[in-house]
Amino acid sequence: MEKKHEWFVTLPSFVWLLLFFLIPTCIIFIYALKSQDIYGGIEPGWSLEAISNLFDKDYTLLIFRTLMISAITTAVCILLALPVGYQMAIAPKRFRKLLILMLMLPFWTSFLIRIFAWKALLHPEGFFNNLLAFLHIISPNTTLLYHLGAVLLVTIYTYLPFAIFPIYAAASKFNFQLFEAAMDLGASRSQAFLKVFLPGISKGISTGAMMVFISTTGAYIIPDLVGGFDSEMIGTRIAQKVFVERNLPEASALSILLALVVFLPLLAITMFSSRPKKLELELRNKE
């Protein structure tokens, strides 16, 4: 009876995800081992053309740039999210609810509309160009759009809530008496923040950083809409291969590359960060 019941509740989602998630993912690998025909389809038989093209055409710059944009975005988002999460956690209850609602609203606003709003702000006729030209920071003819800077600004804007909410979630569970205890024992406010609060919410920080990093590395619309030649990312190149060149095998090979670029650093970080921690604990226990 129990076994039958388990199958009854497991099967629908299990079969659905097998069919529409696992199999499609495996198909990427199959397509990467095919070659393109002239109609935008694929030739029968196997070929290593797409994979070897990946090594021939130099993708090092593209990978490096994608990782750099993701790293900067992640760092800035975490740095901004830490004080915000802290402020939310220490705020009085009514004020805290208002803060959560105010931070939620932009997060739920349509992703495309937020990008469009920035595009209007950074437009040559827009708010920022006029303001900065008025202040003589830039010349009136400078275009702020279609540059790396615009991409970074919009990725930070878009993914900041991904950092704020996990950090707030961790901070709201943090025991602030520890903070006071540290200060009673002579730590300054900033020392207590760095040495007690930050380690206490480390799980929230790593979750937030991971979410921002994965999203930015896979970004495609932001560099597509506000970026230019100096800010092309792996995602935009994949879209170009699919929609413009109709070269599905190379798009698949690039997708595998993107998956590696996203998950290898995360794997490396989790492996490196778990070991020293254990070591540190053992050392402390010995002391």
Partner: protein
């Protein structure tokens, strides 16, 4: 609360940073000038033009059809999955959890391209149906996560009590589980609806030619020459979002 601390000022700056583009957008939708930099006079003309734009309404209709159907399908699938994952700790459920978890963290573009290749490989015509399949797939993983967290706080002794009192499976489901899990189900469904109606990347990959949803329409407008109509459209979407978020907040309050 200390108002002169660094964290207070950073929070204030972050809020200004988050709201500045949105506020400028709203103001511009009432601006008579085509260019956002100069204010000429207050007008509703962009809203009037939007009202006459037939293609927007068609795209909006498509988005609604997909969002509603994907919400229903993903809520059912996700709730089943959450029950399975919560109640059983077998090796099968470990694989099941992996299948639910990986789509959550994978970048959109990878999911989009895998769907596209899959539909091409099995030779399905791209259109509303393929969008529905794709949306149901990513929405159900979110619903599963929401429902799992609700089930963790659910008092299962109530189910045992009902069974002791002679309730059969059907009665337990209808009279105990459903009413008590209703707020959770509603917030899961609302999340699915919001995700589906705003989804662009995956949709763009699986939509094929000729089928437009609201986000695809907005994207095309941003990409290829945008008239201020899009400001008006954005403000309407924004207003709807505010309403839905407020409903969601009140739902989560009831839950507490």
């Amino acid at each position: 609360m200390k108002r002169n601390s660094i964290s207070f000022w950073v929070t204030l700056l972050v809020l200004i940073f988050l709201y500045l583009p949105i506020i400028v957008l709203v103001i511009n939708s009432f601006n008579d000038s085509r260019f956002s930099s100069q204010w000429t006079e207050f007008t509703f003309k962009w809203y009037d033009k939007l009202w006459d734009e037939y293609t927007v309404w068609q795209a909006f209709g498509n988005s609604l059809i997909i969002a509603i159907s994907a919400t229903v399908a993903s809520t059912i699938l996700g709730t089943c999955a959450a029950f399975a994952l919560h109640c059983y700790k077998t090796p099968l459920q470990k694989i099941h959890y992996g299948l639910v978890y990986v789509p959550l963290i994978i970048p959109d573009i990878l999911m989009g391209i895998s769907f596209l290749l899959f539909f091409i490989a099995i030779n399905i015509h791209l259109g509303l149906f393929t969008i529905f399949i794709a949306h149901t797939t990513f929405c159900m993983t979110y619903v599963t996560m929401v429902m799992m967290s609700k089930l963790q706080n659910f008092d299962f002794t109530l189910v045992e009590a009902a069974q002791d009192l002679g309730a059969n499976r059907w009665a337990v489901g209808r009279r105990i589980l459903l009413p008590l899990l209703m707020p959770g189900l509603a917030s899961g469904a609302l999340l699915a609806f919001m995700l589906s109606i705003d989804e662009f990347v995956i949709t763009f990959f699986v939509a094929g030619q000729g089928v437009s949803t609201l986000p695809i329409y907005v994207y095309t407008m941003i990409k290829f020459g945008s008239t201020p109509i899009i400001n008006a459209l954005s403000v309407i979407i924004l207003a709807l979002t505010v309403i839905v978020v407020c409903i969601a907040q009140s739902l989560s309050k009831e839950d507490q």
